[in-house]
Symmetry: D2
Amino acid sequence: MIIVMKPGCTPQDVEHVAQLVRDRGLKDQVIVGTDRTVVAAIGDERRVDMSAIESAPMVERLVPILAPYKVASREVRPQGSVIPIGRGVEIGGRRLTVIAGPCSVEDEVQIIRIAQSVKLAGAHALRGGAFKPRTNPYEFKGLGEEGLRLLAKARAETGLPIVTEVMSIDQVDLVAEYADVLQIGTRNMHNFNLLVAAGRTRKPVLLKRGWSATLNEFLLAAEYVMNEGNNMVILCERGIRTHETYVRNTLALGIIPAIKRESHLPILVDPSQGTGHAYMVPSMSRAAIAAGADGLLIEVHPDPEHALTDGAQSVTPSVFSQLMADVQSIGAAVGRTT
Amino acid sequence: MIIVMKPGCTPQDVEHVAQLVRDRGLKDQVIVGTDRTVVAAIGDERRVDMSAIESAPMVERLVPILAPYKVASREVRPQGSVIPIGRGVEIGGRRLTVIAGPCSVEDEVQIIRIAQSVKLAGAHALRGGAFKPRTNPYEFKGLGEEGLRLLAKARAETGLPIVTEVMSIDQVDLVAEYADVLQIGTRNMHNFNLLVAAGRTRKPVLLKRGWSATLNEFLLAAEYVMNEGNNMVILCERGIRTHETYVRNTLALGIIPAIKRESHLPILVDPSQGTGHAYMVPSMSRAAIAAGADGLLIEVHPDPEHALTDGAQSVTPSVFSQLMADVQSIGAAVGRTT
Amino acid sequence: MIIVMKPGCTPQDVEHVAQLVRDRGLKDQVIVGTDRTVVAAIGDERRVDMSAIESAPMVERLVPILAPYKVASREVRPQGSVIPIGRGVEIGGRRLTVIAGPCSVEDEVQIIRIAQSVKLAGAHALRGGAFKPRTNPYEFKGLGEEGLRLLAKARAETGLPIVTEVMSIDQVDLVAEYADVLQIGTRNMHNFNLLVAAGRTRKPVLLKRGWSATLNEFLLAAEYVMNEGNNMVILCERGIRTHETYVRNTLALGIIPAIKRESHLPILVDPSQGTGHAYMVPSMSRAAIAAGADGLLIEVHPDPEHALTDGAQSVTPSVFSQLMADVQSIGAAVGRTT
Amino acid sequence: MIIVMKPGCTPQDVEHVAQLVRDRGLKDQVIVGTDRTVVAAIGDERRVDMSAIESAPMVERLVPILAPYKVASREVRPQGSVIPIGRGVEIGGRRLTVIAGPCSVEDEVQIIRIAQSVKLAGAHALRGGAFKPRTNPYEFKGLGEEGLRLLAKARAETGLPIVTEVMSIDQVDLVAEYADVLQIGTRNMHNFNLLVAAGRTRKPVLLKRGWSATLNEFLLAAEYVMNEGNNMVILCERGIRTHETYVRNTLALGIIPAIKRESHLPILVDPSQGTGHAYMVPSMSRAAIAAGADGLLIEVHPDPEHALTDGAQSVTPSVFSQLMADVQSIGAAVGRTT
């Protein structure tokens, strides 16, 4: 942490700040510049709340030096993590992983039919919502446990591991009983109690980035899970809130090289949520793979205009099939297989 | 809902869309313009998911006409709601309500001392965190139930009703046992299970706007609570995420006249969270009251440079005392008392 | 500037960076922390482009310490600047300054009538566009020089100094011939050639913040003007681009205390542009004054539904008259007169 | 345009609005819904300023139906435009176009050396700034006309057409004399006088998206150029301002499929400006091509740590050479050649 003093500070002001640094168990070093004096706090600034020092007299501002995450940091595992999600599928290795399926599980025929068609097209896992977080309380919220049972049936039929969302701590055990991967959605990235509860299971956790989360916050959310002893965290970029209006969210693919530099965790991209429009999904899928993503999460529905949720951003099985072919070509160009 | 067709659409395309509208129980009306044909869907578009219609052939885009919220809407109660929060204090009437106290309850001496000093300065209720959502898992997370007990003591000492955060569904009963008002924080505005659980209590709910929430999403979150039979929702603006870097968040005071136009619910402003810097709190407090807010939520700490949390944005009791005098003057200028 | 080295850097890497610092005429100081080594560059980092040092091997990132602005800095003139704009009116003193008038000058009757009515209500200066920057090339772009002549007539009639926009370097002399204050709009805040040209006149410059400008960029734009010898710069907050949709822009009033802390320049607020909706203008005007703004820029039109430009955000003379009364009350509460 | 009336509006209110619509030369059609009455304005709403109608009594809000751009619209030229930029190079065809070179022209040796190395690596055109817009007025602003002369020399040496920025209307003739393509930068996307001046030349214009520009604004800026008779506009995405801090800008690649759907103009991507960090440039280059961009604009410098400008985001010739190989592979996977 660097503490920048205001111009005109006295030696007493500087010593007062240096003392606050020492009180927190860190060492201080004062640097007198031509325009500003700064106090460097040496030691692990992440163990203590340094921000209160901003309140000391003649402090202009604080500048953190260390990234706040630890166990998710690339330094911990420079070779990167590979997370097995069951049935021989893993995420983060040379092989790309595509998780596809409907936004919501609607009924048995629908989920089995989609599972078969995405498998045929080459998907590696099945997604489908049983518990649906809906901004609008008047809309369809999923089939609940019945949805989980139908997902399990689809897994039995196709052999695809299943990925499904858990919205609340009281659903964790139930969802973990059925799912191969627990998904934590955008709206819950900062639901710390849920992160902890997911961390106490022994299931991989697919963690979606919050709408307005910074890279630091995203990795700290991962650390909430990891600190409970569950290192199987898979990150997922799904678009952020910006001023743009031609998309539901702005897909920020720059986070892929940034995560690869900062963290050992694998990262997927969800271009369905990340754009909100089916017509953009193929090109953003290709872009994600080209940028270095470890895989994709894609919403597929055989009849999007009658989908109960997210019809506008779901692609049909035939579009998905072409998308998989593209992913294969692009993957090959960047040294990945499917 | 207005459905805009692409140029070159055929009568069959239009009829297909009209049929999708009728399938959802709404009436259709087709308007043929000079450049575009549109289909108007007449009826309550909020009961059904219309968005899937975007997937139909030759649909360019959908334009919602009705705001999605209902029971929070101003039309329901044009005179506005006044929410009693206990001990003779209410929010939304002519009298302004200032809720002040530390970010976190740290110990008995601290909370009693702050409670007394904010009461003396004219505060109407006491805030203080017992369960603290922390982005960084390595930081202080609050005293838990012990914190609640200390808040109750402070209430007993001062008569101030207490406002404290509930982070998780399993804390709702416990927090409701102690608190006069349940606070739902920014990070949980989209935690729908928590909103429902809070709605099932008979305690007023102070709902903070999410970092990137739109006005519609904010009011829909309120409706999650209200739909459980609890109409005592108090909104709170606390800053949004933008490109600005001289603040932790951008306080968006324009939401005050917008909420007053769209909803009957009262709205407070939290200039501590909403800026992140103590030096900005007095001016933003004055601005909030001048803009028409029903009150304030202010972080006060006697020794900010040693506060366990949020020291940088906490004002001292003496600054708070001056702030209350300013609030009184500004309030008088806009027809409000304190 | 603090240069943070990556973990694992060698003494050679550090010395290489230290040399790059010395090459730029600054002194280096190395601080070896527990987790990171940093190199402090001591001296005026604003004279040279330091950013290239990020390219050196094993550099993690650069952290600027000094704010980049100089002559606009509060340190230069701690008491604040007061800018005379002609005819006895000045901006930045104890007296608030309200500049009101139509978005565009439409014809003689219109501008004279509005000038008289805003003067009667207590405005201190007249605004009106003769050259209008329009996002849409098919819309009305102003009367040009004829508009300037009509503004001068309105000044002759009412004694109000006139504020009008200059869009382009080839208009500077012409506009300066008529106007008391040259306005540089949001879209041109980064038009550096125009800033320089305005700086070469001896007219006060009203500089609007760019849609996505940071505080640093805003003050650096002011310095472009000031570096030409023209210190009469008046800042104006007019809303930024965010994810919000109930407003055309998000008015970021927190910039007022920030500017008062960082700079000696006065700052106005434009709540018409800053919200885009007439119904919000009165409350945001009150909020701006309460927050410490030095005055307001308000769009007034007698018949907004027939205004050629910006009708949706123009208030009528009777609303403006009430707004002035409110400004007076709020101003009194914060120690300002009108 | 759809005009949504407030609940409780009278037939007189509706007729008043309908009259305002007719006054503007459009036809009105009233639709009475269950919750709202709306007035549809039929005709070309882009010819007149409709926004003033928001001021009429009982109007809730306006909803535009037509996109505001015309000549840039895909409907005008469904097959897409191909823009020749000289010396056999064109943008928008099956062949990808990579424009590479230094941020600034620094001296003859530098520009010739870079031109030769990027040509060798397969670049199709040379970029280099002679007039540099700098946020900070104290930094290097380019060599001016001398820079243009050096670019011309580099063209003579290599045969590469040259792309260089024009910042101001008084530079247009000079820059057009030397350059093959006039670049208009982010900060000037809304400098309408410059757009018009560039439109009056017969040189292709490379138009960068403004930091906070919407898609509509971007295409309207293109129309300012096209309305002067110059249809040779090449769009360029270069990142937008968001809350993200690990990048200088957030590269919004979703705009590529959106532009391909909405407009016939070609679109390039600048991953150097669009991220601000050299380490991200290769992956974002690959992503851009995979998403469907027509080419790239890349900053290349042989010695980034001594570059006069933008060193942090410049790649070395050897990185660029690998990047070109990647572009070729990815291009092949999406049916493009280099």
